[in-house]
């Protein structure tokens, strides 16, 4: 059989593309040798967050956040979609100035958010230490258990006729996707949604691994109510220095607390780095001393698929039949839904809700 589209990679990005394309009546093959949601998607934090690093990043995260809020109603309960909001925490006046800038940026674009002073911050999150300057609450951000959400998207695609193919892709041609077991999946178009492995199949794409560590605690319902991130995150997350850590905690609907985050380039193994975990937890204790007493159940690591300009590759690669949907770094859970819509629009020759230009694989990076 000849598929309209073959998607390589069944992470959240590939699954969302499959759901979108099959919804439009296209015949779709979804190819992955490791099952659904087992790559970076299995490791991420599941924070649905609007970011303002650049206008293009804002546009895609804002659009995606709205798509998530629309999808929320139909997500099964095991996706644990919680509309908890984000608080960006400021430690001093310098960071409060950043809070005000961020608030103005979001408010200008119609995103509901509110500045918290020292007292209202403590009221919102009593376990934060005293003496923090304040923060910015972004109301529409959420948390999702992305593993079950990805499975839901894949199942939705399969209910619309998508065929899941348990195989590894080794190359692309005009005919379709060549599999390691020899056969070729015939198709008109290919979507490369292979996450950190995308460049193996499309050498034009520059995607590298940015390793992250996470720790999860036992159940402490009510200990944290919002996703809390330090504003210093902007500096640490985007600094080019090899290793960085930031205060980033997430309340799970189970009552567990997910604690991030670290960022490292150039580390290829999945091992736990105990020293890095320590600096990550120490950073968190600076904001939330009571975390010290909580019981840590597990640590794990994952790789963010990072591009040089921190924007994902979305769209047709040159004049080939291959479309990129890869390189979402630390925002791929959020931006998967927006990415899928842009891919659907481009394949169907429609215009999109947001400008597609900034994400073109052929852009200068």
């Amino acid at each position: 059989m000849n598929f309209d589209v073959a998607i390589v990679g069944a992470g959240i990005v590939g699954a969302a593309c499959a759901a979108g394309l099959s919804r439009e009546g296209l015949s779709v093959a979804l190819i992955d040798p490791n099952g659904i949601a087992t790559g970076s998607t299995a490791a991420g934090m599941g924070h649905i967050v609007v970011m303002d690093d650049s206008d293009a990043q804002f546009a895609l995260t804002d659009y995606s956040q709205k798509l998530w809020n629309d999808l929320a109603a139909e997500l099964p309960q095991n996706s644990e979609y919680e509309h908890c909001g984000t608080i960006w925490v400021a430690t001093d006046e310098e960071e409060m100035a950043e809070v005000r800038r961020k608030q103005a940026f979001y408010a200008d674009r119609g995103l509901p958010c509110e500045i918290l002073d020292e007292r209202s911050l403590r009221e919102a999150e009593p376990n934060l230490r005293e003496g923090l300057a304040g923060g910015l609450r972004v109301k529409n951000d959420s948390v999702v258990y992305q593993l079950c959400a990805t499975k839901y998207l894949a199942e939705k695609a399969m209910a619309n006729g998508t065929k899941f193919i348990d195989a590894k892709a080794v190359g692309f041609s005009a005919e379709g996707v060549k599999l390691s077991r020899g056969e070729t999946i015939l198709c008109d178009r290919i979507v490369n949604a292979a996450g950190v492995s995308a460049p193996d199949l499309s050498a034009e794409l520059s995607v590298v691994k940015r390793k992250g560590h996470l720790v999860i605690t036992d159940r402490y319902p009510g200990f944290v109510s919002h996703q809390l991130i330090e504003l210093g995150y902007l500096r640490s997350a985007h600094g080019k220095d090899a290793d960085s850590v930031a205060f980033n905690v997430q309340p799970r609907s189970t009552g567990q607390i997910l604690l991030g985050s670290s960022r490292q380039f150039g580390v290829d193994n999945t091992d736990i780095d105990p020293a890095l975990v320590r600096s990550m937890t120490s950073r968190a204790f600076e904001y939330m001393p009571k975390l010290r007493e909580l019981s840590a159940v597990r640590t794990w690591t994952g790789f963010r698929p990072a591009t040089p300009d921190k924007l994902p590759y979305i769209g047709c690669i040159g004049d080939t039949n291959v479309f990129a949907a890869a390189g979402h770094e630390g925002l791929g859970i959020t931006t998967s839904l927006g990415t899928a819509e842009l891919i659907v629009d481009e394949i169907l020759g429609r215009s999109s809700a947001i400008d597609r230009e900034p994400y073109r694989p052929s852009r200068k990076v």
Partner: protein
């Protein structure tokens, strides 16, 4: 952070670890340290009885230990490694870093549990777990107790409970009568074992030992243990405090247990069910250290060396062989680690005999396939995360099931449900990451 340096570091203060430490400490000038997460050494069999033991091996070990030839770090739980390769542990809420030249892993085993309808009810305990509770002071006098599952531990537990005044209504052993008879006949080759066996049989007097017999369901009208409420693995890494926390809260209602034997089914009333399906090795620390594993056990050579340089493994992690195997393997590793290879080699013949015993033990008490069908759709498989049997059936491997259902993600990190799903579905166990036990964030 506390720092401790030693030449030979032994993790686990059971028969294997004590024996290893003792052998190693025969060499003059070597510093030997033994670490155990319990307040006292002794491991699963001798912990509660140190000082009032009936066993000569235990006495020998205890008097050697009290002679102070090595450092003893009790109440110290090892949860992982540091960047420099040293071990990280927690002792009285403080982090401890242990530096060593040679490491001997003697981390023992825990009970194997299988899900059947009602296994999470109050009044249902692990067999060894109930024994440990009683050793700790839990009163079973006058209680009617059914002991069920498989393995020689059932006999030990039944005898112990009887001695403590319980009325053991029966021992339900899933292994076949023919296998057990063959095993018993073979015991003549193992002189001390036969003595133990005879002694046991006489003190079991009157307790029906039903073979080809197993529990299919248990029912207690008290509320079941709720989501997330499981044994505290910090206190009890091997679930020695039993399966159920509900026993103290539960009402006077007895437990109704369904048994089956050769196609016949009947129910019996009792106060407690003590159930265990033989043992599974504690290999988590070995895995985190990168030691090769085969068939679920730590792979070792004749000198008990693992695949990792300077790391040895002894006792149950290398094969379920009982106390004699643990003692002899401990001595071999202790000598080998101290560089006394000749002394170690002189024990090979003895060790090989205990491993032949272990092989016949394990084949005698291998689990029968019928036990795979005991759980019904609603039976809980993962207690920590409240995952039912039905919700696992659609998955083809442990990782997918874990990621989608959280099976094995709770505080016990799959120590209970992992071996169960391995038996039920043939799933290979998932990855092990430190901390291998929950620890406070500040300790991590």
């Amino acid at each position: 952070m506390i720092e401790h340096s030693t030449d030979i570091l032994v993790i686990g203060g059971g028969a294997a670890g004590m024996s290893a430490a003792l052998a190693a400490s025969e060499s003059k000038g070597l510093r030997v340290t033994i670490v155990d997460d319990n307040p006292r050494l002794g491991g699963q069999i001798w912990r509660a009885e140190l000082g009032k033991s009936k066993s000569s091996e235990a006495d020998r070990l205890i008097s050697a230990i009290t002679s102070g030839k090595f450092s003893i770090l009790n109440g110290t739980q090892i949860f992982g490694t540091a960047n420099d390769g040293s071990l990280l542990g927690v002792v009285r809420d403080e982090t401890i870093k242990l530096h060593y030249n040679k490491l001997i892993l003697a981390t023992g085993a825990r009970e194997h549990f299988l899900p059947f309808p009602g296994w999470t009810s109050p009044r249902v305990f692990g067999a060894g777990g109930l024994q440990a509770l009683v050793k700790g002071g839990f009163n079973v006098s006058g209680k009617r107790i059914l002991v069920a599952g498989t393995g020689p531990l059932l006999l030990v537990v039944a005898e112990y409970l009887k001695q403590k005044g319980a009325k053991v209504v029966a021992i339900a052993e899933q292994a076949s009568a023919s296998k057990i008879n063959r095993f018993a006949l073979g015991l003549w080759r193992y002189p001390t074992k036969i003595a133990q066996g005879l002694e046991l049989r006489s003190s079991l007097g009157g307790i029906p030992y039903l073979k080809d017999c197993w529990v299919t369901a248990a029912k207690c009208k008290s509320p079941r243990v709720s989501k997330g409420e499981t044994s505290d693995m910090r206190v009890s890494p091997s679930l020695t405090h039993g399966l159920s926390h509900g026993y103290s809260k539960s009402t006077k209602e007895a437990l109704s247990v369904m048994l089956t034997q050769k196609g016949r089914s009947w129910s019996i009333e009792c106060d407690y069910l003590a159930v265990g399906f033989h043992l599974v090795p504690n290999t988590e620390l070995a895995v985190v250290l990168g030691c090769s594993i085969g068939d679920g056990f730590v792979l070792v050579d004749k000198l008990q060396r693992t695949s990792k340089h300077n790391i040895f493994a002894v006792g149950e992690p290398t094969g379920i062989g009982g106390v004699e195997a643990s003692l002899i393997e401990g001595r071999i590793a202790g000598y080998a680690a101290a560089g006394e290879t000749r002394k170690a080699e002189s024990l090979f013949v003895k060790r090989d005999r205990t491993s032949r015993f272990a092989d016949s033990l394990n084949s005698t008490f291998a689990l029968r396939d019928e036990l795979k069908t005991l759980a019904d759709a609603t039976t809980t498989v993962c207690r920590c995360e409240d995952v039912s049997y039905a919700s696992l059936c659609e998955f083809s491997n442990a990782r997918e099931a874990k990621l989608q259902t959280r099976c094995g993600m709770g505080p016990c990190q799959g120590r209970v449900c992992g071996p169960a799903t391995e038996f039920l579905f043939g799933w290979q166990p998932g990855s092990v990451r430190q901390p291998i036990f929950p620890v406070k964030l500040e300790t991590l």
